[in-house]
C-alpha cells in the first residue's frame, strides 16, 4: 500500500527504547521474566502497531478517506498511548543500587508534603486508586501546570495522562500483564502486593526531574 521510494514522515521511526538496567535488576519487586516480556513483547507490539496505524493514516490522508482517518484514531491513541506510557514507566523505575526506592528530595519532596501530607500518604493513595481500578489502566502522579499542583489520577487502557490535563511525572502500570506472572507465587494478593512492592524500585530522581522541568 505504501508507495515505494516515497519519503516517509519522520514519525515512522519510533523504536523501542533501551532500559537503563538489566531485566533482572528490579527483583524481587518485579521479576526479570515480567520485565523482559513487558519490554520486548508488549511495548514492542505497541510500537509496531503504532507505526502501522500511522502508515495507514498517511495513506488514508493521501486518499482523502475521511472515514478511514477517523476510524484509525482508536488504534493510534491506543498503541501510541501504550508507547508513550511505557517509555515513561521504564524511566520511572530503577534498581535499588542506582537509587530506586530512595525517597524524593528537594522541590518535589516539599510539594508532596504540601499536597498530600507525607510521602506515605501519597503512596497509600496511589495504591488504593490503583487497586480500585477495574479492568486495565494506569495510576499516575501528575502535575497540573496551570495550578502548579500535584494530583493522583487513574487512566483507562492506554489513555495518556495528557487527556486528563496533567503532565505525567510517575506512572504505575496496573494492566494484568505488569504483574501476572508473579501472581500467587511471589504475590499472594497479586495487584495490591505488586503495588506495595513497586515503591522499592521507583526512581524518584527521574520523577523529580520531570517535575522541575515542568514548573
Amino acid at each position: 500500500m505504501a508507495v515505494a521510494g516515497q519519503q516517509s514522515r519522520a514519525s515512522h521511526s519510533f523504536t523501542l527504547p533501551d532500559l537503563d538496567y538489566d531485566y533482572g535488576e528490579l527483583e524481587p519487586a518485579i521479576s526479570g521474566e515480567i520485565m523482559k516480556l513487558h519490554h520486548t513483547k508488549h511495548h514492542q507490539t505497541y510500537i509496531t502497531n503504532f507505526v502501522k496505524a500511522l502508515e495507514q493514516l498517511e495513506q488514508a490522508e493521501k486518499d482523502g478517506n475521511a472515514e478511514a482517518i477517523v476510524k484509525l484514531q482508536g488504534a493510534i491513541n491506543f498503541n501510541g498511548g501504550g508507547h508513550v506510557n511505557h517509555s515513561i514507566f521504564w524511566k520511572n523505575l530503577a534498581p535499588s543500587k542506582s537509587g530506586g526506592g530512595e525517597p524524593p528530595e528537594g522541590k518535589l519532596a516539599s510539594a508532596i508534603k504540601d499536597e498530600f501530607g507525607s510521602l506515605e500518604k501519597l503512596i497509600a493513595k496511589m495504591n488504593a486508586d490503583g487497586a480500585a481500578l477495574q479492568g486495565s489502566g494506569w495510576v499516575w502522579l501528575g502535575l497540573n501546570k496551570d495550578l502548579k499542583q500535584l494530583a493522583v489520577q487513574t487512566t483507562a487502557n492506554q489513555d495518556p495522562l495528557a487527556s486528563k490535563g496533567l503532565v505525567p511525572l510517575l506512572g504505575i502500570d496496573v494492566w494484568e500483564h505488569a504483574y501476572y506472572l508473579q501472581a500467587w507465587t511471589d504475590y499472594k494478593n497479586v495487584k495490591p502486593d505488586y503495588l506495595k512492592n513497586i515503591w522499592k524500585v521507583i526512581n524518584w530522581s527521574d520523577v523529580s526531574s520531570r517535575y522541575e522541568a515542568n514548573l
Binding site: H42, G74, F78, G135, A156, Q158, E176, H177, Y180
Partner: protein, 242 residues
C-alpha cells in the same frame, strides 16, 4: 464442569486453578458481601447484573455481579475435545445469518483482537424490530439475529437485552500464563479446541422460550390458500328455509 487438568494442553491446569479458584471465587465472595442485607440479596444473578447496571451508571455491585456471571458463562462455554465447526441448529444459523463458519471465525477473531484492554468477545442473539405486513401476525415482530460482539471490562450483552450464546474471556489473566501477550493464538486455540458447541445449542433452545422465532413454519399456515368455502371444507350447512 470438568477437571482442571481436562483442557490441557490448550488451557493449563494452572490457569484454571487461578482463574476459577482465585478470580471467580473473589468475585463471588465480594459480591455476596456487597449484597448482604440489601435489596439485591435473593435475586437471580442475571437480574442483579441488569438491575445494578442501572442504565449506564452502575452501582458498586455491578462489577462483581457481571464478572461472576461472565466467568460462569465462560467456564461452561469450554469443554475438552471441543472447538472446530459446530453441528446442530447453531451451525445452520451461523451459515444462514453470519455467512459461513469461516466468516464467524473471522468476525470473532477480530472482535477478540480489537477489544483494547480487558473485556470479552461474544456470540449472541440480538433482536430487531420490524413491522409485519402479514395480517395473521401482530404488527411488530421481534426477529432474532446472530451477532458477534465485544464488550469492555465487566460489561456483557445482557444489558442490551441480547441473549448470549458463547463467550471468550480476553482479560489478560485468562491467557497470560499460557500465551503471555499472544492473544491471537489464544483465540485460535479456543476456537479450534475448546468451544462447547453443545451448550451453545442448548442455550439456543432455551432462548426460544423468550422470543418469536423469526420465520414462521409455513407448513402450518398455507399463505397461498384461499379461504375455503363451507362446501370445499366439507362442512354441511343447513340453509335457513325461511
Amino acid at each position: 464442569p470438568f477437571l482442571q487438568s481436562a483442557l490441557e494442553p490448550y488451557m493449563s491446569k494452572k490457569t484454571l486453578e487461578v482463574h476459577w479458584g482465585k478470580h471467580q471465587r473473589g468475585y463471588i465472595e465480594n459480591l455476596n458481601r456487597q449484597i448482604a442485607n440489601t435489596p439485591l440479596e435473593g435475586y437471580l444473578l442475571e437480574d442483579i447484573v441488569k438491575i445494578s447496571y442501572n442504565r449506564g451508571s452502575p452501582q458498586p455491585a455491578f462489577n462483581n455481579a457481571a464478572q461472576a456471571w461472565n466467568h460462569d458463562f465462560f467456564f461452561t462455554s469450554l469443554k475438552p475435545g471441543g472447538g472446530k465447526s459446530p453441528t446442530g441448529e447453531i451451525a445452520e444459523l451461523i451459515d444462514k445469518q453470519l455467512g459461513s463458519y469461516d466468516n464467524f471465525v473471522k468476525e470473532f477473531k477480530l472482535a477478540a483482537a480489537s477489544q483494547f484492554g480487558a473485556g470479552w468477545a461474544w456470540l449472541a442473539r440480538e433482536f430487531l424490530f420490524f413491522l409485519s405486513s402479514l395480517s395473521f401476525y401482530p404488527f411488530c415482530l421481534k426477529e432474532a439475529k446472530l451477532v458477534v460482539e465485544k464488550t469492555p471490562n465487566a460489561i456483557n450483552p445482557l444489558i442490551w437485552d441480547h441473549i448470549p450464546l458463547l463467550v471468550l474471556d480476553v482479560w489478560e489473566h485468562a491467557y497470560y500464563l499460557d500465551f503471555q501477550n499472544n492473544r491471537p493464538d489464544y483465540v485460535s486455540t479456543f476456537l479450534e479446541h475448546l468451544v462447547n458447541w453443545d451448550i451453545v445449542n442448548a442455550r439456543l433452545d432455551r432462548a426460544k422460550a423468550f422470543m418469536n422465532w423469526g420465520e414462521p413454519d409455513w407448513d402450518l399456515f398455507d399463505k397461498d390458500a384461499d379461504i375455503l368455502t363451507y362446501e370445499e371444507a366439507g362442512i354441511d350447512v343447513v340453509e335457513d328455509s325461511s
